[in-house]
Amino acid sequence: MMKIWSMKQKQQQAEAATAGTKKKKVTAAQLRVQKDLSELSLGSTMRTTFPNPDDILNFTLTIEPDEGMYRGGSFHFSFVINQNFPHDPPKVKCTQKIYHPNIDLEGNVCLNILREDWKPVLNLNAVIVGLQFLFLEPNASDPLNKEAAEDLKTNREGFKRNVRSSMGGGNVKSQTYDRVLK
């Protein structure tokens, strides 16, 4: 062991010495999230909200699409990041009940990089770009809300009408949706 230590001392000579009292250290997950947050490109259609600014691992993302079928809506997603990030993906859920082929009534989101295709090299920006894309191009081939997907596939105009009425807080096929208009 002493051999290891003498090697360590040699290694250290080139670097600045460390000392001092031991306090709680910023965790690896916090560091990574901090980095990801500084690189977010939110543009004019997205914003974040931090219920507790000291806790950057829990926040809400609001997407307000300015084009596409969901234009005029304001959609909220909760981001819950654990200490295993970026090994584990962030847990993302829509907090409103919305009519969307890739989002179920509980708010689960079908986005490949949130589950099967997540890799630690991906960052939070990749996730928000993915979410934004779901509103521009809802995808009928990966359905979580089967009825919505079926509508989109068979009757695009009818689907658009359903989107409008659901966003206003109306009913689509016996389901009442949350009002999400700005």
Binding site: T18, K24, H87, C110, E116, D142
Partner: protein, 439 residues
Amino acid sequence: MVAAVATPPVLNDVSQDRARWKYLDNILTRRGPFTDEQCNPGPDLIETLSKAKVLVIGAGGLGCEILKNLALSGFKDIHVIDMDTIDVSNLNRQFLFRAADVGKPKASVAAAFVERRVKGVSITSHCGKIQDMDEEYYKQFQVVICGLDSIEARRWINATLVGMVDMDDPDSLKPMVDGGTEGFKGQARVIFPSMTSCFECQLDMHAPRAAVPLCTLATIPRQPQHCIEWAHIIAWEAERKEDILDTDDPAHITWLYEKANARAAEFGIAGVTYSMTQGVVKNIIPAIASTNAIIAAACCNEAFKIVTNGIASYMGLENNYMMYTGDGDSGVYTYTFLHEKKDDCPVCGNLARNMEINSELTLEEFIEGLAERPEAQLKKPTIRTEEKSLYYQAPPALEEQTRPNLKRKIKELLEDGEEIAVSDPAFQIDFKFKMVFSS
């Protein structure tokens, strides 16, 4: 082989009660071709080994093997920590446990068993989480051997051991030997915290858990496992949102099993069973006893060589990562290599440096100063402590929420000696500073 020896020869300096350790003593008292120059074989080395205090983290599949191996390798002061209790499904490979032990804490049962079988060994058990122990606790050991099954726990102990390294105290450098197995595959590695590539540097060696797209689960399940995952992720949430799923509660697993079974019937899929449900929900990868034995043996060999100061050359400085695969398709194979340290590793790549600061300054003045300080030169820094977000340049909401801190004094925001982490878009890596108040 001689069938019987009437009286075993007694060496001068090794007493009769060392008979059990005859072969071990042969190694410890003779110089071999791979013995380090600084290692002194002889009676002192036997004593060094028996006095070494070692910590074993985990008393499960690997832990049982490790405890047994250490005790039989001449270690006499072993500590073990584990938070789990014994489950009936552990008994096939966790050989220190018997049916009557089911429900008891793993650490204490394993310790008692080994103490009973290997006289003279002391095993101190601790039933609890590694996170509940502080640096003082970890400081008492000479080497830490991990037989863990979770990445989270490994990251925690790794960061703790790296953070403990203190240049003024040689005793603060704790070598970490980490074993891991998954089915027929496994790895053993040696980490000299802050000197060699750490667990965080090697994080990408672990493939994230394979997952099935949510939409497959929701719409077109093809396999019995899909039906179980559906019950686990979607049905539970939809129907029992208020209950927290306890994967150890048979009633909960039964509920999921019945849901999965009904869904499988609906789609004409056969093969959903209760034990498959348990396996999928708890993400159980069948553990193979032989993999555990091989990996634990490698870990204990390394610990032995480190504690004896190099009776044979140990892994760590040159090669530090041994991977093993014993799966039928690719044959039995091991490969040992050097995993290099990452300069931008968030744990060991940039250990906190001291920064002297006048605590009467405001955060804003401090940030302006950062741009000029030669050791930082940061123009757009984002700063936090473990507890607080001090100032964020982005996103806008967070900037606005942390802006009031700019006018506050350092001493109102920080304690003397507290660590801050600074990121700046101009740099790939983050900086950590230990803030030392100069007034």
